[in-house]
Each structure stands twice: as C-alpha cells, then as structure tokens.
Amino acid sequence: MAQDRPTAAELLSAIADFLREEATPALDRADPRLGFQMRVAVNSLAILEREGRLGPAADTREQARLAKLLGRDGTLEALNRELARQLRTGERDERDPELMAHLDATTADKIAIANPKWR
C-alpha cells in the first residue's frame, strides 16, 4: 500500500532540520554533552535519508558486480563472505583490476551514503 506524502526521505529531512535548527541550540544551552549527542543523532538521520534514496540501487549494482567477479549467484551477504574469504587466503589480491574496480565502486557508493564529504 502506497503511503501518503511526505515520503520517508521527506519525513527524515523534516525531522533532521527541526532537530538541527531548533532542538540542538536549546540543548547546547542546557547541557553541551547532550547537544553533542544530538549532533550525532542528526548526522545519523542524514545517513538514513541518503540510504533510503541511494541504497537500493547501490546494493543491486554491488550484487551484480560480485556475481560477475565470483562467477556465481547468491545473496549480497553470501557473496561478500566468499569474497572476504578469497581475500584472506590470498586467492585474489590488489593486482586483480576487476577486483579493484569492484571495491572502488562499492566503497564510493557506501561513502556517498555514510559521509559524502569524506575525501
């Protein structure tokens, strides 16, 4: 069943804006430690907003790359487990360009959600 607007992303943005602009300054005056915690919370809400928007397509791309790289199908979790195993045993390493392209792309998608300002 489709939900009415605001969408999840719009609702998260509205909450984050309220907490950042109205609640945080008040908390800073009352208890700086709580003000700091609120900034952490607002930052996490922004991650959720980006994840809702960008996450599903990023997961689909990651799974497709992994299936091609490993030559098998499986859940995202299972494929990552297999890749991690191969990297620990040294069956693959950084000299494999397809591996590195996959890791670069996956990490780029993850950081775009977790912290797009990181460089």
Partner: protein
C-alpha cells in the same frame, strides 16, 4: 562537560579523601569534584585536594568494580589501572610528557581499581586545536613536538617498566583478523588490506621499545604553547616504535586537515626529523607507510567493534552505534593507500 551523579559523587569523594589524606600525610578536603565525560567503565574525575592550605589540582582514573568490566578489558587488551600507573610513572620520570602520577587507591577505599595524577592544563579537543585562534602558534609547533616527545617515550628504559605484552606486526594482524571473525563481519576491503600487510610485514623489531599504542591527536593535551601532556596510555605495549609514528599519521586523526599527515599539524618529514633529532632511530619511510596502512585498517575495524558494543547490548549507546558507519571512511583511505604506489 560534566556528568552529575549524586550518590556516586559522594562515594568517590569519601574514597578520595581517605586516599589523599594517606598520601599527603594530613587531612585532605576534596573540592570541585566532577566527572569528565567518558565511558561508564573507565572513568576520569577532576578534583582539588586541599591539604594544610595548599590546593592540589588532581585527576582520578578509575574502573568501578562492576561485573563485565574485566571481560571488556581482556578483549581489548587494555592495561589494568595498576599497570597503567607503573607505565605512567616510568614515562614521567623519563621526561616523556606523561602526567605525573601520585598514588594508587586501595581496595579499602572502595572505588575499584584507581589512581590519582596531577591535573595538566590544556585541551584534547582536536577541532579547537586545529581551528581556534588562540592555538595559532601551537599549530606551528605540534608536529615537531609530537616527534620529539615520541622519541623520549621510545627511549624509556625497559628495566623501569612493568611487565607488558610484546606485540609485533604479525601479532597485530592476527588479532585484527580474530576480531573480524568474532564480529562475524564480511569486510572485503579490510581483508584485502590485511593480506597486503601480511605479505609485506616488517620483521620483529631488533630492539622492542615501549610503544604508546594510541598516540594521536585527541589523546594529548595542548595549550597555546603546544603539547602539555600525553594521555591514554592503556594500550601501551612492547614492540616496533614505528607503530606510533604510523598511527599518529592515520587520516582519521587529522580531523579534516588532510594535507597535514602529522596529526593534522605538519608533514611526516617534520615529525620524523624532530623524532630523529630527539634521539629516535632513523625512520624508514617504507616501514612508516606500512604502519600507517596498518593503523588505517586498525581504526576501521575498531569502528565496527565500537558499534558492536552497542549492538551486542554490552554498552547501549547511540554514539557508539553510529561509529560503525565511520568504518567506510577508512575503506576509502585504504583503497587510496594501496593503489598509490
């Protein structure tokens, strides 16, 4: 920043009064007692002891006697308070800018494992040190001060130290892999980096030295003149001194000043030159790079283990949970580091 806790404050004040009176040999009044922000299991309290009209600014480091604390510590390989006390004393006497420890508390004081040291001025907050106007002059000095102080830490005579674990490159790699396995986390970038490190690991140090183990911006105090005290010695061990030189340059510890690898304040060369001039061994850049890559993986995996403390229910904390999403920052850095050669 303080946390008010009525009953606990009374308990701490009572235990401190007894211990401080014993140490100073006269009745001590405890004033201005406040809990600094920090974890529930490893507490830091600030207070003054007034003894015969003299005021002593002091810090209490304390592990309350609660269940579970010891298990946490065993997993994290952190020093117990009594060993930390002995390391701090040896480092202070060697002129390594450790705070001056004064006395340990006894079980009869009722505060758990704890000791008292002199309070040192300055702030540990990276954001202030890196950006605020009063620290402009300090900013020009901190990179070389960090190098010079580190040389003195590594020169601490092992005969003056308590028994410490020896941890070389191979031990660190094994313990990070074991931590990933414990967390049950499939982490391809970390596995890639650990295998890269494993194939290139330096041989065990010929002369294992005292290694601070968490030497970075955020873990020292500085004022307008620069570094005043090195804190957070609970990761101290014996091993390769270059480990500390790599860790202080990890990008996460530059707090945004990414073009200044030495803690956000200067170049690697500035750090190394000051280290060598203060008596440290000549720095091999390849070995320092290895330890910087290692430090980057280490922090990334610590991010997951911090989140796990919340997720497993051992320490409910939104802040800890959110650190899990910082791990990817180190994945970005690692892919850059491994491909830049």
């Amino acid at each position: 920043m303080t946390v008010q806790m009525g009953d606990e404050s009374d308990l701490v004040a009572t235990g401190l009064a007894a211990a401080a009176s014993r140490h100073f040999g006269a009745a001590a009044a405890i004033e201005g007692l406040r809990r600094e922000s920090g974890g529930a299991s490893r507490q830091t309290w600030s207070f003054d002891a007034v003894v015969a009209g003299d005021r002593h600014g002091l810090i209490l480091r304390r592990d309350p006697p609660i269940s579970g604390t010891k298990g946490e510590r065993e997993r994290s390989a952190a020093l117990d308070r009594s060993t930390e006390f002995a390391v701090l004393r040896a480092a202070f006497r060697a002129g390594a800018r450790a705070p001056e420890v004064l006395f340990e508390l006894t079980p009869a004081d009722g505060l758990g494992e704890a000791f008292v040291m002199r309070r040192v001025g300055g702030t540990a907050i990276a954001r202030k040190l890196l950006r605020d106007p009063p620290y402009a002059e300090a900013r020009r000095r901190i990179a070389s001060q960090l190098g010079a102080i580190l040389a003195r830490i590594h020169a601490v005579d092992r005969a003056t130290l308590p028994r410490l674990d020896r941890r070389e490159a191979a031990d660190h790699i094994a313990s990070l892999r074991a931590l990933l396995d414990t967390l049950g986390y499939a982490a391809p970038v970390f596995e890639l980096a650990l295998s890269w490190l494993d194939r290139r690991k330096p041989p065990p140090s010929a002369q294992p030295t005292l290694v601070h183990g968490d030497y970075r911006t955020g873990n020292y105090l500085a004022d307008e003149t620069g570094v005043t005290a090195i804190l957070d010695w609970e990761g101290a061990h014996l091993g390769d001194p270059v480990e500390d030189l790599g860790w202080v340059c990890v990008k996460s510890w530059r707090f945004g000043s990414i073009d200044k690898p030495a803690g956000g304040f200067g170049s690697r060369e500035e750090l190394w030159t000051a280290y060598e001039q203060a008596g440290g061994a000549k720095v091999d850049p390849a070995r320092a790079h290895w330890w910087e890559v290692f430090g980057t993986v280490r922090w990334g995996i610590i991010c997951h283990s911090q989140a796990w403390k919340h997720l497993s229910g051992s320490q409910k904390s939104m802040e800890m949970a959110s650190i899990g999403r910082r791990a990817v920052e180190t994945e970005v850095d690692l892919l850059q580091l491994l491909q830049e050669v």
